[in-house]
Point group: C2
Chain length 471, copies 2
């Protein structure tokens, strides 16, 4: 349906003219995500200032069959936050709901509005000597509501879990405008179906998360970060087993990195320095935390690295000597997506396989990639401890960008076929959104699609919530 | 509807006569749970030997509108596994699906049939130097499928999470007989709605879990157990914060115990010995684990206890000196439900509140209990670290059992009102089943009930799966 001016005026009235944006320059930032990969058109961006206003917006949307696209920090990587190109979907920005409602130090919880920026929450927790462990490259602009709606992962997921694991309770406005208030601080609650986890990871297609209770953790008293060199992914797998066995939940990061993404970063990110004297084919950035002391973390790191050296898994390593050096290591890792850009076109994957299958995946995917695009350069890095790799592939060095990018779908299909064969997922962290919906429906068992359709129909019978996303 | 002999014969044919029980003495164990609190009547118990047979059973049930009640080890505490009293609901026992399909040491996962007994899985993992941390009093007979369907908790949930947190993937037979195969070993998978967590905790009302992938953990190299005496629950809360801060995820048990349940245990469980020389009003049984060494766990325990002594939180403590003594401490804790029986009637609660609210809950609930039944004896113990107490109340010492038990509902209402006021749950671990369904519907927001009804209708439109349980 086409939205008319009278209906837009009714929506605008709910939030007040000042917070109903329709001028082209004002709505432009909401119609394109920062990388420019996904664009859309909207007649109006609504910026409600209260849960009641969100409720009134959805009620009117339901009554009039108006499509609503919730948007947080607009950092999603699969287009889930973008309206379509028709110009009839209203964007609902959660940015003004940005209050930290409570930090409960004894229960170790924070109750926050959906629009709170992730880093603001991290900082507020740190001020109280608590850790909110969700950590993402986009943390300076992404919002907690979006993190939950997309079940964000990141480096810290290894020890602390994904956004889903960190969420104890939600407040959700349903498509009808009713509020589902389940803002509980409970670690155990077996009163009926797990509705919360449909909204968490639901990508705004079942309702709008307006607030959440999340877990906080004691701030570790020591954190040690090291950059280790290894001959092969199989060595990295054995190194992971060793570190996991010795450090258990003290193992707070275990990132596998191939030489290529490091080389790209060294070449293109000013001020970046190779942590080790010589080049090696594979690296692991490993972090170990201790609740006891800095010395304790240091001892444990040294123990793990010593055993790994003795077993021939790790051939060289640098332990960050201070916070500055640790941040430099982290910055290397975080720059790897960006550093690919000057190297031309990149075909990206966000895959997970069982941890044990990582070496086999890397070997098979590398062979397939060369068949699809001879000369392409694999840029493999990611959260090995979670079985999750951002397996990106840059174009051949002097090849043509467009010719290469025309292979996007073919490359995806080849890599994802290996992922399926290994019992993996073709969207480990980023979700489905607009980008992967067709592939999901084409490749998952029909019974899963049918169940998802029934869930969608049960929660959003009018189909107004973020249409044609996910399912 | 009433089941006729011809239909029963069709069901029996699926599993073979030998595994279709209908003789009174054979079906009797399936018609009553071990405590005798819940009873039911069934015309037939089906014991399928394969997923295909489960599928055929549900297909026939859907076609004929026959109600199916899945049953695992029959240890559930809310009657969820019991047929009703009408005699027309068929019991589907998962016991013959008892194969451990795979233990993957590199991915740290086990793939198991639903009917595997919990302790069998624990032992199989331990043989491979892995920990399956779910630990329940009933572990010798309860089954993994039931653990997942009821999202079981227990002592280990503090560090390792509930059954839900331990489950990576499920295989479910839907009411139509279709198989939803989601047996993945992935720690990260954001491909659509979280269907898995509807079946986990769904108490067999949405489908039948026939297998699951669960997480395993490195076996701790050291575990230390201590029994500490404290003046008040407020001290216990501060002690918990301290232990949590120092030991983090090494804090693998934190059980709060009032004097009364210990006194009952000492009086009624032969061979039980008070860990401490004098009586104290409150105790904490605390376990600290280390992935590094026995010495490391011991040092950390001593450090935590020393600080707690210095701060006046803990006034006496005994550290178990060997595995035998540790098991004796654990046995004390595990005997507390049983030890109540000789003390007469008991009114039970399985509540959770935010951890910080535990002291207030205990104070207010104690006052209310005395108002409802003057002279009653509070038997408070439970998983304090999760905010979860088994807040049981024994009858006055020389009172009449039936007079006291007539107050069951009134007492529940009084205690649960406090729980609600504190933002808590009236079923932290045990689920809803048959026992708490009416109370759930009466006390939760109407919108939650409506969403649950829609989920039920979406998954089980014919209403054949475990009818009138949960919702």
């Amino acid at each position: 349906m086409t939205i008319d001016a009278a209906l837009l005026a009714r929506f605008a009235e709910i939030v007040g003219e000042r917070h109903a944006l329709s001028a082209a320059d004002e709505i432009a930032p909401y119609e394109e995500e920062p990388r420019g990969l996904f664009r859309g058109k909207t007649p109006m961006v609504l910026r409600p200032g209260s849960v009641d206003e969100v409720s009134a917006i959805l009620k009117l949307a339901s009554e009039t069959g108006t499509a609503i696209v919730p948007q947080g920090g607009n950092t999603g990587l699969v287009g889930g936050q973008m309206p379509d190109g028709e110009g009839n979907e209203i964007v609902l920005s959660l940015s003004r709901l940005n209050r930290i409602r409570e930090i409960d130090l004894q229960s170790n919880t924070a109750t926050v509005d959906a629009g709170v920026v992730l880093q603001v929450l991290q900082d507020a927790a740190a001020e109280k000597d608590r850790l909110f462990p969700l950590s993402l490259g986009s943390q300076g602009s992404c919002q907690v509501g979006g993190n939950l709606s997309s079940n964000a992962g990141g480096v810290g997921a290894l020890a602390y879990g994904t956004a889903r694991d960190l969420c104890l309770g939600v407040e959700v406005v349903l498509p009808t405008g009713e509020v589902f208030d389940d803002l509980r601080k409970l670690k155990k609650d077996n009163t009926g179906y797990d509705l919360k986890n449909l909204f968490v990871g639901g990508e705004g297609t079942l309702g709008v998360i307006t607030a959440a209770v999340v877990k906080l953790f004691p701030m570790p008293k020591g954190r040690e970060l090291a950059w280790a060199a290894l001959p092969t992914p199989a060595d990295a797998l054995r190194f992971f087993e060793l570190a996991n066995d010795r450090a258990g939940n003290g193992l707070t990061a275990f990132e596998l990195i191939e030489r290529t993404p490091l080389a790209f970063t060294l070449a293109h990110v000013p001020g970046s320095v190779d942590p080790l004297a010589e080049a090696h084919p594979w690296y692991v950035m490993i972090e170990i935390s201790s609740g006891r002391s800095g010395d304790d973390a240091k001892e444990l790191m040294e123990e793990v690295l010593t055993v790994a050296f003795e077993e021939g898994l790790v051939v060289d390593a640098a332990i960050a000597q201070n916070e500055g050096q640790a941040n430099a290591f982290r910055h290397l890792r975080e720059s790897m997506s960006e550093a690919q850009k000057p190297e031309g076109g990149s075909i990206k994957h966000d895959i997970s396989v069982p941890v044990a299958a990582i070496p086999e995946f890397i070997e098979r995917a590398g062979e397939e990639a060369q068949k699809v695009a001879p000369g392409c350069r694999v840029v493999c890095f990611g959260h090995m401890g979670d079985g999750n790799l951002h397996y990106n592939i840059s174009q051949p060095k002097d090849g043509d960008r467009d010719t290469y990018l025309a292979l996007y779908r073919k490359m995806n299909d080849a890599i994802h076929a290996i992922v399926r064969d290994l019992g993996g997922s073709f969207s480990a962290e980023h979700g489905i959104g607009r980008m992967k919906r067709d592939e999901l429906i084409a490749t998952q068992p029909a019974v899963a699609t049918e169940l998802m359709r029934r869930v969608k129909a049960a929660f959003d019978p009018a189909g107004i919530m973020n249409p044609r996303k996910v399912i």
